[in-house]
Structure formats: C-alpha cells, structure tokens
C-alpha cells in the first residue's frame, strides 16, 4: 500500500460525529458497495441488505478506525464480501459449507434481443464464487491487481489465475467460445 488513504479524514470525522461526513461517506461508497453486492449475489434486494449491513459496520468502527496495512476502501470491500459469502452459504442450494470451486460454463440459452443484461447476470452467478469475486473486483470495481489480491488475501498470480479461468468460462457461456479462437 502506498500513499495516504483518501478516506481516512472522512472516517475520522464520522467517528467524531460529523453528520456531513456521514452523508459524504454514503454518497461516495454506497453505489460501489451496492454494485459489488448485486453482482456477487445476483439479487437486488439482498444486495441492498448487504449494503445496509456494511454501513452499520462502518458506523460502528469509525471512531476506532486506524489505518493499518489496508486502506479503508479495501476494508469495506472485504466486509461487504464477507456479508455476501454469509448469504451465499445460507442459500438452500449450498448443502455443505464449501462453495464450489468450478464454474458451470455450459452455454446459456440463446439470447432474446435486449436480454443481455439478464444473461450476463446468470453467467456471473454460474461462476465459482472466487472467480466471480475476482472478476467483480478487477473488472467492475476497477481495483488494481494488487488491491484486489489484497482484498481476496491471495497472491497476484493466484488472482490472475482466477480471472483467466473466470473469463474463459464467461466467454464460453456468453460469446459461445472458450476464447482460444
């Protein structure tokens, strides 16, 4: 991690009880947290619940926040992802504690015009969760490879492996080839 944390001052003000800082934090982070949760869970209502729970943790920890090894943004990504994984584990289809490591990359049904967004959502949900997490962090959240690897607590090489496998699976489901043409 290099440089000062751009959120540190805002977090300090929240801890001191500044209502303007609370509003600024919600404006700055809510769209990102909501998007992260929506793509991880594939469900808008659950994503809103995760966003709310993430902010409750922000409010609770603001007065004690000290920048350690992680930036604040990295920390809230990790908090939100943990909440997403809690929900994924609770879903009925998970019969064990282990989340699947392998994507189901069978091609999706032919697209209905204007239906691409739903197809992409389906394809993302069919990825193994760790592959989905890597793609969401790097592609949609636009974290750097080092930041994303930090959030996922893995090496950059491991991150690139998850990204490549995830994208190959998506390519097969959405574009109809495995990316090797």
């Amino acid at each position: 991690m290099t440089g000062a944390d751009p959120d540190e001052e805002l977090v300090r003000r929240i801890g001191a009880g500044d209502p303007a800082a609370v509003q600024a934090m919600v404006a700055r982070k809510l769209p990102r947290i909501l998007a992260l949760a929506a793509r991880m869970l594939g469900d808008a209502a659950e994503a809103e619940d995760v966003a709310q729970e993430t902010f409750v943790r922000i409010w609770r920890h603001a007065s004690g926040w000290r920048q350690g090894h992680a930036r604040f943004d990295t920390w809230i990504h990790r908090v939100a992802l943990n909440l997403c994984y809690d929900r994924l584990r609770r879903r009925r289809e998970w019969t064990t504690d282990e989340l699947p490591e392998v994507a189901d990359d069978a091609p999706l049904p032919d697209a209905v015009p204007g239906d691409d967004e739903r197809r992409v959502n389906q394809a993302l949900q069919r990825l193994a969760p760790r592959q989905r997490e890597a793609i969401v962090l790097v592609y949609y959240q636009e974290l750097s490879n080092i930041e994303a690897a930090g959030v996922m607590q893995i090496s950059v090489d491991a991150l690139e492996s998850l990204l490549a496998r995830g994208r190959r699976a998506l390519q097969a489901m959405l574009v109809g080839d495995d990316g090797n043409d």
């Binding site: 909501l34 808008a44 949609y140 750097s144 994208r167 190959r168 959405l174 990316g179």
Partner: protein
C-alpha cells in the same frame, strides 16, 4: 513483452489496458499495435462488450434514507460504548495498582514481633542464667 505474456494478461484483465498491471501497460501498448496484439484484444473485447451490458441501478433515495437514519444512532452508541470501556479500563488499572502496592508492602516489610514476649524469669540476653549444673557439681 512477448505474445504469450500479452495474451495471458488479456485473458485475465480483458481488452482495456487501463485495467492491466501498471508495470506492464507501457510495453502492452506497444504490442497492442501489432496484428497479433490487435487480434488478442479484439477477442477479449467481445466478452468485455457483453460484461459492460450488466449495469446495477443507482441506489434509490429510500436506501439512502435508511442508511443515514441508522448512522446517527450507531455512531452515538459506539462512542458511548468506547467511553464506558475507557472508564472500565482506567478502573482496572487503578485496581491493579492497588493490588500490586499491597503485595509489595507485604513482601518488603519485616516480620513484626509479638507485642508481649513472655520472658522466662531466668533468661537474660545472654541466654538461660539458671542454676549452673556443672558449677554446682564442682562445688560439691
């Protein structure tokens, strides 16, 4: 940068070079100008076009309001909790200090003699000064 590394990065990060590792971007831009580079990016770009169609609606005002309403109470409660914990901490430190002081006094202080030491009537500071048996026998 060789073709293999370029393709591996495109496999992982897609066709937009700004998502690639910063250390590789300059070399990647040069390779992207080659026919091989263009073909790799075109292939990765097809998937990116699909992924870009997945949009998440901006949070609505109701969600904003709910989160803000919870904020004031949570921050106030957390500060109160931290205040109490600080109080308990200080009280704990004070108590620990008192216990340590008491222990120190107990260890360092000398044993206290009983106030009323009953001396034998024949005892002196030099020991028992009773009838000297040996001397008595000699006198006999």
């Amino acid at each position: 940068m060789d073709a293999g590394r370029f393709a591996a990065l495109a496999d992982a990060y897609g066709s937009a070079l700004h998502r690639w590792p910063p250390a590789d971007q300059a070399a990647a831009m040069l390779f992207a100008e080659t026919d091989e580079g263009r073909a790799v990016l075109r292939r990765a770009g097809r998937l990116d076009t699909m992924l870009d169609r997945h949009r998440v609606e901006a949070p609505g005002p109701a969600l904003h309001r709910t989160i803000l309403a919870r904020a004031a109470a949570e921050v106030r409660q957390e500060r109160r909790r931290r205040f109490w914990w600080l109080g308990f901490g200080l009280a704990g430190v004070g108590l620990a200090g008192a216990v340590a002081g008491l222990a120190l006094v107990t260890v360092v202080s000398p044993d206290i003699q009983p106030d009323h030491y009953v001396m034998d009537a024949n005892a002196t500071s030099f020991g028992d000064a009773g009838p000297d048996v040996d001397q008595t026998e000699e006198d006999l």
